[in-house]
Structure formats: structure tokens, C-alpha cells
Amino acid sequence: MSERARVLRRRLCACALVAGGLGVAGPVRAQSDLEALKARAETAKVRSAAATAAYRTASARARMARSDTVRAAGLEVIVVPRLGSALENARLADGLERGRSLLRQRWGSAADVLVDTTSWRLVGSQWRLASLQALTLASGQAGRRTSIEVRRPIDPARVERFVLRHAGTNITRAIPALEGFAGTDLPLDEPPETYETAARELALSWSSPARRCYAGSIPDCRRILTRAHGQSRLDIWYDPADHRAVATAHAGDIVPTDTVRHRLRKRCNDGEDAACTALMRSFPEARFPLSTNPRATFVSHALARSDSAAFSRLRAAPAEGTPDVVALLSGATGISEDSLIAGWRDRAHDTLSRSRPPALPLVAGTAVWGLILFGISTRRRPS
């Protein structure tokens, strides 16, 4: 190889080395830049979160510094000063007193466990003008916080109802035996709507015993209020004639891949009663004929008629092995099962009857508006 060729080869090798070095160095540098940027972004995120938290804390402190505290009946409500707050705070305190004393009047100091004594809040909307209209009263307990809109000027009766309603959300904590039967929210304030819904559910139920209960049959009410377990529960809650209706009503829950149930459904639709029964029984949580709402009204109806001793007895009832809530409530309140059930059924029935608006005001209103509009239409005479 000549000297010239050797030099040329060396230069080529050098060039290749430089080019290779440059080619590798670029991605390596970019990678390290990316890592650095990522780290900076993470740091910025952490700082931003810390700054936001600090701002929130400072803002809450500033609000607290401006806020008042209303204390009544062992309860504490943090309120933001607003126009007319002195009078309204007195009404708020009055409502709290009334609600708490009603609870104590019913069940004595045993009911204290139902009331959350951490700080409650009375806050307005973020829109100042909207706060002129209504405020929100919220209990402070995390997890089971309840709130209600309170129209201004504050009505103590509304606050009183809220205290009862709030206590109702803690009832299954106080009386574990009721858990699973009446849900978590018990309408201790007994609003008529809940009884109306209960009556509607009874009247429209797939279960014939429930419908007979609505019509006045106490033994049938007893059947549908029984919290039974196992396969026999369906025989208690439903008549054989109801099986088809229950099965077809819940047929929408069958997943497309469930060929067994689809076959049962087809046979049921073709008129085979045994297939309907099998399909109904195949639903795992089939099917308490009433939702928790009517059951909760039954419990709140019984509790409203109980004394403080009854409440203590209920609190002491074991959570396990007490499927018969009717017997439990009857035993605790000292009211016979039939009277308890009849009172609940009659109340639901009467509430529903009263909820139907009478036709006369509607007729009178239409007549008055018709006359007003007729009067307006004669005002302009064509020329």
C-alpha cells in the first residue's frame, strides 16, 4: 500500500470515528436533557401542589377569622357573617335546640350518639347574590356528611328537621340490628313524601302480598316485612302466581353469555311456570319486594312511637341472628306487631290519599286566568 493510500485510509478512519461519535453523543445528550426536564417538571408539580395547599389553608384561616360560631344544645355551627346574621343566628340556634331536645325527649340521652358534635357549617353560595336567597347547612362528620338548603330568612322548623334527618343517617351505627333492613338513611323527620313513596311501592309491587298489604291485609304486610334468608324467602315474599312477573321483570339483568338463564327465560316466556320459578330463584339477590325506603319508614314510624327505654333496648339488640325486625321493634316499643304494622300501613295509605291535589283550586285558577286573558284581549279595537 502506498504512503498516500495509507494517509487516506487514516483520514477516512478518523472521519468515521468523529461521525460515529457525533451520532452517538446526540441521542445521549437529548436523553439526559429529557431526564432533567422531567425532574424539573416533577419538582414544579410538587411545589405547585404545596402552594395550592398553603393557599387553601390560608384562605380557610381567613374565612375562619371572619366567621362566627353559633353554639346551641351542644352543637357548634360555623357561620359566615352576612346581612341580618344576628337574627338568623338566633333562629338557627333555636332550630338546633328544638331538634336536639326533640331527640332527647323521644329517647333521652341515649340519642346523643346519633348527633355529630363536630363543627357544622352554614355557608352561602359562591355567588353572593344567591346567598341572599338560601344557605347550605352541613354537618361536619366526614364520610356521613349531610346537608340541606335553608331558605332565608332561616326557619327554625327547617333546622329542626335537619337535626332529625342528620340523626337518621347515624341510626344504623347506633342500632346495628337494623342494618341491612332499613338502609343507612332513616327519615326520622318523617317527611310525607317518604310515606307516599312507600304506599306507591306497595300498590305497584310485583308481589301479591305487598299489594294485599296496601289493600289492608296485616298478615300480608307481616310477610313482606320479614327479613328472611335462604330459598324460602321467595316463598314468603311472593305467591306462586307472581313468579312469572318477577322473573320477566328482572330478565334484563341476564348477561348475553348466560345461556342457561336465556333458555329458562325462553321457556318462561313460552308459558312454562316451572321455568319462571327457576329463573326467579336463579337471581342471587332476588328480590325483596320493597326497597329500603318503605322499610325505613316502617322503622322510623316505630321509633317515633318508642320511648327512651325502647331506644336503649334496640341499641342493645345483637346485630346477628335478628332477622325479624318487626318482632324486634314490637318487643322494644311494647306495641303489638299488628298495631305497629297497621299504624304504618294506614299512615302510608292516608298520606298518599292526601297527596292528590283537589280539582277545585285548579278549576278556579284556570277560570281566573281565563278571565284576565279575556279582559286583555278586549283592550284593542281594530280601526
Binding site: 355567588w127 299489594r211 285548579l362
Partner: protein, 218 residues
């Protein structure tokens, strides 16, 4: 004279009234056919309630549309002749408008009657469970009141705004919508809520439309 005005009113609006009457007669049966025949247990209380669910919507639309036409059409006929006849009659304008209003209102009783008949006929073919009750009379009364309310509103608008009634109605509707949106954005939606509450609860003018329109209920 009222008889003559009633006669002309009937002549002008007979097609509309007949169409309304036929529609209201058939509405319960149609609603049942559309709703309940798709349910596997058509005789259970829930299925019966579901079966008649569409009755309210059909009847509200019928009452609004029918009343609008029955109020507006005679006015357009009068306006086409530049109101020469009413102005040449030996009665005051107020008296004439009262007779025209009364004649129109009277014709609207017919669709309410056919609704009652249609409801009774349909219910006679269905076995109603003991926990449910049928309300054919109440439904027909609600329909009559709603029709009369819509008729009075349209009549007033037509006789006040004349040929510009469509524009006035559009302006009122758009103005209300814009005002509602402005109040919403200003955080004053409670004013809008209160206003709607006033309109739709008794004795508000639209209370009859917001009332329960169920043919069968518990």
C-alpha cells in the same frame, strides 16, 4: 246573535275540532297499544301504569296545538275581511269579542267529552288491579282546563297583537330565554326558579299543565 257566531265558529273550525275529538277519543287506546302490549305481564299494576304513560304527553301537545288553531283561525278569517262584520254589528267590540271567545271555548268541550268516552271505553277492555284506580273524569277535566288555558292565551295574544302576534310571541319567548340565561350567569337562578314555580304551581297559569295527567294511578 251568539248562536250565529257559534255557528260560524263551528263552520270555520269544524275540521280542527273533529280531528281533536277523534285524536282524544283514540289516545287512551293508542297509548295502551303502544305501551302495554310490549310488556310481558300487561295486567300487573306497573305494566298498566307504564301502558298509559304516554297519554299525558299526547294530550298536552293536542291541547296546545288544537287550542292555538281554534283561537287563531277565526281571527284570521275576520282580519281577512278587515273586521268589517264585527265593527258593523250593533254591539260593542267588547261584547263581540266575548261572544267569539265563548263560542270558541264552547267548541273545545267536545274533544274533552270524547276523551272521557275514549278513556271509559278503553278501561272497560282492561282488568284494573284492585290497588289501582282509574280517573277518566279527572283526566278529561284536566284536558279541558289545559285546552281552555292555551286557548285564552292564544286568543289574548291574537286580539292584542293582531298580525304581529307571531313576532310578539317569538320576542317574548326569546326575551324570556335571554333574561333567564343572564340571571343564571349572574347567580340569580333562584329568581328564574321562583318564576317557574309561580307559573307551574296552583294558582299559576300553567299549573294545569304541570298537574298529574294519569288515567290510572294508585
Amino acid at each position: 246573535m251568539f248562536r250565529q257566531i257559534l255557528f260560524t265558529q263551528l263552520r270555520w273550525t269544524r275540521t280542527m275540532i273533529a280531528a281533536m275529538a277523534v285524536l282524544t277519543f283514540l289516545t287512551p287506546a293508542m297509548a295502551w297499544w303502544l305501551g302495554a302490549t310490549r310488556v310481558l305481564n300487561p295486567l300487573s299494576p306497573r305494566a298498566i301504569m307504564a301502558g298509559f304513560q304516554s297519554v299525558s304527553m299526547i294530550l298536552i301537545i293536542t291541547s296546545l296545538l288544537g287550542a292555538f288553531l281554534v283561537a287563531a283561525y277565526p281571527w284570521t278569517q275576520d282580519a281577512a275581511a278587515k273586521h268589517v262584520l264585527p265593527l258593523s254589528l250593533p254591539v260593542t267590540w267588547r261584547h263581540y269579542v266575548a261572544m267569539r271567545f265563548g263560542a270558541g271555548a264552547l267548541t273545545l268541550v267536545l274533544p274533552a267529552l270524547t276523551l272521557w268516552l275514549g278513556s271509559v271505553a278503553t278501561l272497560a277492555l282492561i282488568e284494573i288491579p284492585s290497588t289501582l284506580r282509574a280517573y277518566p273524569g279527572t283526566l278529561a277535566l284536566r284536558f279541558l282546563l289545559a285546552t281552555l288555558m292555551a286557548y285564552s292565551g292564544t286568543f289574548a295574544l291574537q286580539y292584542i297583537a293582531g298580525r304581529r302576534s307571531a313576532i310578539v310571541m317569538l320576542v317574548v319567548l326569546l326575551g324570556g330565554l335571554v333574561l333567564g340565561l343572564v340571571l343564571q350567569f349572574a347567580g340569580l337562578n333562584f329568581i328564574v326558579e321562583r318564576f317557574f314555580e309561580f307559573l307551574t304551581t296552583s294558582p299559576g297559569p300553567l299549573a294545569v299543565f304541570a298537574a298529574d295527567w294519569k288515567l290510572v294511578d294508585v
